[in-house]
Symmetry: C2
Subunit: 268 residues, 2 copies
């Protein structure tokens, strides 16, 4: 039951097992452990490659391979000047990683929609009690821009995605915020198509967004949830009206331009 981190059982003799994983992995894991344990706080400098070479007693190439892994997992980042810092994995990066995986696994629109149906209404309901003024202002701004964008399907789809992301932010719940982000990313192309092909779609969308926003501002939990549910149902109806199949996998095509660049410097 007490499996080691490499999946093996501990030996019961005098000596511990030998860790035969490659050196670059052990370098990465050692640094990861320091960060996860809190001994390296986010924003703390990791040191130069030469430092790490000295500390671990391995070659620089080995250190560099370890660093690549940690960089990829978001536990360390480079600031503008390429110095290494411990950092918190960014939500946007995780979200785009998740949506990439969902695309590769050929998740269907039905699956996406059902998950949205679970998360989005809850998000709106929580926003009623947790939304802070700045976020409400941001949502108001989003609505304003949406009303002016009725003729521009691409922009409208972008603003739609942003609206829902802001509701997630307003929920005051980062788990929900993170969970729903990939859904927004994956729905955006469909939202675009909908705005282009279904004449009433833009107006209905803006109407629903407005209702949700007003309910949130009024603190009306039931109303916010109900309008959000209606809105998500509406999206599905529009989707079906386009003659598309709910069991169709989300395409991988769109994903080309969502290769999220590393964001600017972390802390400090």
């Amino acid at each position: 039951m007490a499996a080691l981190s490499d999946g093996t059982e501990p030996a019961d003799g005098l000596f511990g097992r030998i860790d035969h994983r490659p050196a670059y992995q052990r370098v990465a894991e050692a640094i990861e452990r320091e960060i996860m344990s809190g001994r390296l706080a986010p924003g703390a400098p990791i040191g130069t490659e030469a430092d790490l070479v000295r500390q671990f007693g391995v070659n620089r190439s080995t250190v560099r391979e370890g660093i690549r892994m940690l960089e990829q997992s978001g536990l360390i980042q480079r600031d503008g000047s390429r110095r290494l810092f411990a950092s918190l994995p960014r939500y946007t990066k995780l979200a785009s990683r998740i949506s990439r995986a969902l695309v590769l696994h050929q998740v269907t629109f039905r699956e996406l929609w059902e998950a949205t149906m679970a998360i989005e209404p809850m998000s709106a309901e929580l926003a009623c009690t947790h939304a802070r003024p700045e976020v409400l202002d941001a949502i108001a701004g989003n609505l304003e821009r949406s009303r002016r964008a009725v003729g521009d399907p691409a922009l409208l789809a972008e603003l739609d995605t942003e609206f829902h992301a802001l509701i997630g932010r307003a929920s005051g719940n980062r788990v929900i915020e993170l969970s729903r982000e990939p859904l927004g990313l994956l729905f955006q192309p469909t939202s675009h198509m909908l705005a282009e092909e279904v004449p009433v779609a833009p107006a209905r969308m803006i109407e629903a967004h407005t209702r949700v926003f007003e309910a949130i501002r009024a603190g009306d939990v039931a109303e916010a949830g109900a309008w959000m549910r209606r809105h998500v149902h509406d999206f599905r109806r529009g989707f079906e009206r386009l003659g598309k199949d709910l069991e169709q996998p989300v395409e991988r095509l769109f994903h080309d331009h969502v290769s999220a660049r590393t964001p600017p410097p972390a802390g400090r």
Copy 2:
């Protein structure tokens, strides 16, 4: 608006911009593009490092750094003989990445619980119409083992986590399955503590699990959802009965032994 993948705007002259990103990143991105576009199907061999050196015209070390990044993101894997294959990012790996991020961001129990309250009932409801026999059998087995584990808090917590994971599986919705996995991981230690400290907890848990299971087997959507909601509420009450604060961040301590090892070869 048409930002390039490195965040800059396209130049409007004769020549395109020069890509200043380091070679190892471009190697990784080139391979990633092949996989995402479908030209490299999961399971397809990538070639040896020497092959990649020839194709890209860069040094071994550079290729290796690129490979580390892709390995970390789960897009490529090595089989037993260390040959490189394209692969689908594994859910378990993503889930543990997500829960790690949530821990580092010091997400609170309230946030976890609210998200669970959104996802888990939906998961149970969907299971009513989508559960396949094998999964139902697995759940039955889990229940059987749970009943025998009443005196063993650690095992019971493990079986609890497994039960909910199986419900996720039964939902026939991989988005929900993936979204809820990190929640299960993060709740497990609390579930353990609950089984240890609250005398009635094990019995109530098993009762609820049984009800949910029977409702799913009977295809009773309303009943399954209702019992799951009750179960999740119950968890919260138990948590508060322990005198713990919902606004307390999930501890980072537990995470030490959840450093999910790379699973065996991917497809084929």
